[in-house]
Symmetry: C2
Subunit: 226 residues, 2 copies
């Protein structure tokens, strides 16, 4: 069975867990805290980033781009219904939005909130910097407007079919939702409906049981009717 | 002919130009300054990032991940000698290092230097912040140590064969080199030899004629014997 070195609130690790669950690939999970930059992590990945996947043959696959491609190469079901569209232009739109989640949304929102709320406390008992939290949340409002614009004319974020783009975005949403950083009472209904649909998928169940020490999830986190 | 919306010092655009040149795909180039966030750019790409490729059928492909995949899907030669290794684990190592260049090196080095030296001056005539330049250059020293470690035991950065990983890294190197941010007199010889080999490829020629208004390239930029 492949195993995944992950942190429960790392959105890239969550994307891999969602993808594997959707493809019916069981994963052994090994939890680490990448911000501790432990020697064992740095030896495998000097970038000290997650995820790291060990294949059935125990070869290390490092980083989210490599991991997504390896899962698609080795573990995607042959049957119709994968997460990567067959049409090249639909695939390009999927990659555009995967990049949006992994790079832009991460850079402007998620990584600040995880660092302030989780890593800083864990590393030196520090409390989050209110100005950073405010900036990240203001950025998220702008992202939400864009997702809502897309979802007003599309079934799924990349188009008519659910794809890896939905999972990449939902992975970030679920991290933010765990930390209580999504105000659903103010969220536009298209985005809320989309998240509700994707959260109801069997693949999502594994994430909803996650618990981080000394940080319980927000009230609606595991609730399908949030 | 496909066309590329790019900026000469944007490393992701440079990667696409290198890849297309290597594959013998001619490109129409349209230069823009993404930091101006002009309406025409935002309509195609609300993230205001480059590159944007227009295919032969004038469909927009937005962002570096989408563009790399579309070039590989539509334009890669069938013959042996592409930039994406056939072996899945070699491909995973390639993606790890592409991610290193596009995300980590960009985040810690290149984007700060381009922003300070090019975008800030262009937007408001401001001079670069010395502390930011110093931090980015100190980060680059660390990156160099790692590339040198890799190249001490490998022919190319991802392994025995040249791949997209070399081009991704070389695209960043060439942007930094243009701006005079690589001190070759102090660079370890493995990395210098590698850059010399890749810079000598015919595909690299197009980049070496680049000129940015009011910012001539560093002395050795176009020199194959730097």
């Amino acid at each position: 069975m492949p195993s995944l070195v992950h942190h429960p609130l790392d959105p890239a690790s969550r994307l891999v867990r969602l993808m594997c669950a959707e493809y019916g690939v069981p994963l052994d999970l090994e939890e680490i805290k990448p911000w501790l930059r432990e020697e064992a992590l740095l030896e495998i990945n000097p970038a000290a980033t997650l995820p790291i996947l060990f294949t059935d043959t125990e070869q290390a696959v490092v980083g989210i781009l490599a991991t997504l491609h390896v899962i698609e190469d080795f573990y995607a079901p042959d049957a119709v219904g994968g997460l990567v569209p067959a049409d090249p232009m639909a695939r390009a739109e999927m990659w555009r939005l995967v990049e949006w989640a992994l790079v832009k949304l991460n850079d402007e929102v998620t990584r600040y909130l995880v660092e302030e709320k989780i890593a800083k406390r864990d590393l030196r008992g520090a409390t989050p910097e209110p100005a950073v939290l405010r900036a990240a949340k203001a950025n998220f409002v702008e992202h939400m407007l864009y997702f809502n614009y897309l979802l007003a004319s599309r079934n799924w974020v990349g188009g008519d079919e659910m794809s890896l783009a939905d999972f990449a975005l939902a992975a970030h949403f679920s991290t933010l939702d765990y930390m209580g950083d999504i105000d659903w009472s103010k969220a536009p209904h298209e985005t809320r409906d989309w998240y509700s649909r994707i959260k109801s998928r069997p693949a999502f169940r594994t994430l909803l049981n996650d618990r981080v020490t000394a940080m319980p999830p927000s009230k609606g986190y595991a609730n399908l009717d949030f």
